[in-house]
Symmetry: C2
Subunit: 195 residues, 2 copies
DNA sequence: CCAATAAACGGACTTCACCCCGCTTAGTAT
DNA sequence: ATACTAAGCGGGGTGAAGTCCGTTTATTGG
C-alpha cells in the first residue's frame, strides 16, 4: 500500500532502451535532431510510450544528464581531496565549483536541452550542486546566515553563467570564458567565507 | 547608409497595437493563452506580421518586459536614494537587489514567458541588472577582482532563485520566500564587499 | 494454469510555433 | 503626380510536442 507498486519489467527495459537510443542519436545527429517521433521510431516503440516514460522532451535529456551526474557526484562525495573529503570545506567548495564548470562544459548541449521553460524546476530544488554546496557551507563556520538560501544563491552564481548568461552562443564561446569563471568562483567563495 | 533605415510608420503602429493587445490578453486570459494566432486575430492582423515584428513568441513577452523595465531602470538610475544616486555603492547594491526582487515578483509570469530555451540569451548579456550591478561594483572599491564576471555571478545569484530555482511552482510560492531572499541578498553583498 | 486488473502500449489526432512567398503599400526620388 | 523599390503584410503550409483512448500484456492471487 505504501509502495505505489514497482515499475513493470517491460517498462524498465523500454526506459533503458530509449535512453540508450537517445544517446546514440545525440552522438550521431546532435541534440536538436532528437525528436520524439524519431526517437520512438528508432527504438521501434510508439510515441505514446516515450511520453509515458519521460513526460516531456526535456525529461529525456534530464534523465540522460542524471546518469552522467551520478559519476560526478561520486567523485565529489567520496573521491580524493580537494574535491572529496579530506580537505577543508572552503577548499572543497572551490574545487567543487571548478569541477562543476568542467562538467557543465562537457555536457553543454544535453544540459541545455534538459532546460525548458515549462513547469518542472529546470535544475530544480533537489539539484546536486545545491545540496552539495549546502553541505559544505554547513561545515565552513560562517555566522548565522541563512545557509539554505545562500546555497541557492551560490548555485545560481556557479551555474547561472552557463545556463543563463552564456547560453546564447555555442559551447566554444562558453569554453573561452571557463578560466575566468573558475578564477572568479574561487574569489567569490573566498570573499564570502573569510572570517 | 550607416542607418539601416528607420522602421516604417505602419509597422511602428502595428507594433504598438500588438503590444497593447498582448497586454490585454495577458490580463484577461493569462500568459499561456496568448498564442500567436489568437494575438494576430484579436489585433486583426496576419500571423506573419506578428512574427515579423517579434521574431518569436518569447520575443513578445521580452518586449512587454522591456517596457516595464524602463520605469524600473529610471528609478535605479536617477531616483531617490538608497536606490538612486546619493547613497554609497554597497547600500545601493542592497537596495537594488531588494527592488529587483519585488519587480520580478510583480512580473513573474511575463518574465517567465520571456524566457525560452532557444538562441537569444534569456536574460542575456545586456541585462539591466548586470549592467547596473557592474556599475555599482566599480564604485565600491574592491580589490582587483574580475568585476565583469563578478557582476554576472551576482546577477545570477539575484535573479537565479526566481528564474532558475523557484520557477517550478506558482508565484505564490515564490512570494513566500521573498523576504528571505531579500535578507539573504543583503548578507551576500555585505559579505562580498566588506573590506 | 487461469482469471482479473492495473499498467503499458501504439498511433491517430490536436494544437501551436514558426516558415514561405506572392501581393500590397509606405516612403522617395524625379 | 508618378513610378520605383524595399519594407511590410497575409495566411496557408509544415513539423514537432503533447493528448487520448481503445487494445495488449505483465503481474498477482487463487
Amino acid at each position: 500500500m505504501g509502495t505505489p507498486r514497482a515499475e513493470r519489467a517491460d517498462a524498465a527495459r523500454n526506459r533503458q532502451l530509449l535512453l540508450a537510443t537517445a544517446r546514440e542519436m545525440v552522438a550521431e545527429q546532435g541534440v536538436e535532431n532528437v525528436t520524439m517521433d524519431a526517437l520512438a521510431d528508432r527504438a521501434a516503440l510508439g510515441k505514446g510510450t516515450v511520453f509515458r516514460r519521460f513526460g516531456t522532451r526535456a525529461g529525456i535529456f534530464h534523465a540522460l544528464l542524471d546518469d552522467d551526474e551520478r559519476a560526478f557526484q561520486e567523485r565529489a562525495l567520496s573521491g580524493p581531496p580537494p574535491l572529496g573529503p579530506g580537505a577543508g570545506p572552503v577548499e572543497r567548495l572551490v574545487a567543487y565549483g571548478q569541477a562543476r564548470i568542467g562538467f557543465l562544459l562537457e555536457h553543454y548541449d544535453i544540459a541545455r536541452a534538459a532546460l525548458d521553460g515549462s513547469q518542472p524546476a529546470p535544475a530544480g530544488e533537489g539539484t546536486i550542486s545545491r545540496v552539495h554546496i549546502r553541505m559544505l557551507l554547513g561545515q565552513a563556520s560562517l555566522g548565522a546566515a541563512d545557509l539554505d538560501m545562500l546555497a541557492v544563491q551560490l548555485t545560481a552564481a556557479l551555474e547561472g553563467p552557463f545556463l543563463l548568461y552564456l547560453s546564447a552562443s555555442d559551447p566554444a564561446d562558453a569554453a573561452r570564458h571557463t578560466g575566468r569563471m573558475a578564477q572568479s568562483w574561487q574569489d567569490l567563495v573566498q570573499r564570502i567565507c573569510r572570517t
